[in-house]
Amino acid sequence: MNRFLPDVLIHTTEMMKNKHVAVIGGGIAGMEAASVLARQGLKVTLVEKQKATGGKLNDWHHLFPDFSSPGVVVENLDKKTVRAGVNVVCHTEISHIERNNGRFELSDQRDVKIFADAVIVASGFHVFDATLKEEYGYGLFSNVITSVDFERRMKKHGKLLTLQGTEPRRVAIIHCVGSRDAKVGNIYCSKVCCITGIKQAIEINKMLPECEVFCFYMDLRLYGSKFDSLYLEAQKRHKIQFIRGRLSEAAERPDKSLQLKAEDTLQGRPLRMNVDLVILLVGMEPALSNSSLMRNNQMKPDENGFFRSVNMHEARNVGTQEGIFMAGTAICPMAVNETLENARSAALEVMNFLRTDKNHGGF
């Protein structure tokens, strides 16, 4: 038995073994929730729109704060789902949930129908479209990339080059792109970008020791365990420079390097800097599929557009429609470890629900 698997302290009845749970989204939250439930003996179908499970983690190069491999996490989760007997359906995007007589009917565009007694929505998040911050030049200037592009490039090529094929001598990492920004309508903090930026800065320094790396931040929000020590390490060992000030605009120079304008708010002076590469730490937004999932039932968005919980402290996984639960970043931005914990707690909520659901002869 996998030693990472938690023991959920709920007694599974024979009655519950006939219950069917559908999990929408085959990212890590969905996989974890599905495997926990299946391991408790429930029938579980995991629906994924892509050709394989793993979600966005498939694109990530390294995880913070320990530089571990996301591939291993996905692989372990895959093993767990298979071993627990989860029915995995790929290439299927659920666009419709309807509740009839207490049961749910899930359907996609091609009329694939799945029936379930409870649903977990683990639809994940949408990466902020950085072209919306036109003044940063993403999509316009070749050497402005996002943190997601960075992960993909690193995973694919294992190295970081400018578009001209040279090694960057100076890189700027811009925090809060698409987060905490009323100008793009996202006033919330995406929570994981600060630590992602520090992680990527360290990776750059490890790869290119001569390359100077600058992080432009408004606040550093390093809430997680070991996050702040990574920050300390970034400063001490990797000589990453932290500049408190928000990037106002980037301009491309004829040599395709970028001129950045920010204020060094601690010195109180405008700052101008030429860099070879800019990495925008793009935030998390509600998944695009959320609105269609919300349309046909009582599921409601919260003020940021993520799924609303009935109680953000005591019932974070419980949606506004009875019988539909959420897991992971469908609720709000969170890191990988939090997502997995959150998925397990979603599974627990589902089992509690099925146990006590009077309509289905639960007790």
């Binding site: 009323a182 408190r244 000030g245 928000r246 106002s248 605009e249 304008k261 405008p270």
Partner: protein
């Protein structure tokens, strides 16, 4: 205590208990959005005037909040009013109006012959 005439340059600490909040209260009354500033400096970085001289919009806001009216009334004359600051502010503060209100209040205080 006896005066020994020691040289004392005077404290430069910000005195939060006694500061001139006339301007601040005025601005907040007519432009409440100002209260949400997080001093990110985006305004200063994008500022057309700040690009040409040492004008600093963020500091204008900071001085306003600290009651440093004297510094502020001189510095604010450099603003060209182009509105870029308002366009980049992540907190949607109506910075142009803040500047206009400051200018208005300062000119009012001056005509009332009050120290600015």
């Amino acid at each position: 205590m006896e005066d020994f005439s020691f040289l004392n340059p005077g404290s430069r600490q910000i005195d939060f208990d006694n500061f001139d909040d006339r301007l601040l209260l005025y601005v907040l009354e007519y432009e409440p959005s100002f209260v949400t500033c997080i001093s990110c400096g985006g305004c200063t970085a994008t500022c057309s005037a700040g690009n040409l001289t040492n004008f600093n919009v963020r500091k204008i806001g900071l001085w306003l909040r600290r009651g440093e009216t004297e510094k502020l009334s001189q510095e604010i004359e450099k603003c060209m009013f182009c509105g870029k600051c308002t366009l980049v502010c992540p907190r949607d503060i109506n910075i142009r109006n803040v500047i206009l209100l400051i200018k208005k209040r300062i000119s009012e205080l001056k005509t009332e012959n009050q120290p600015v």
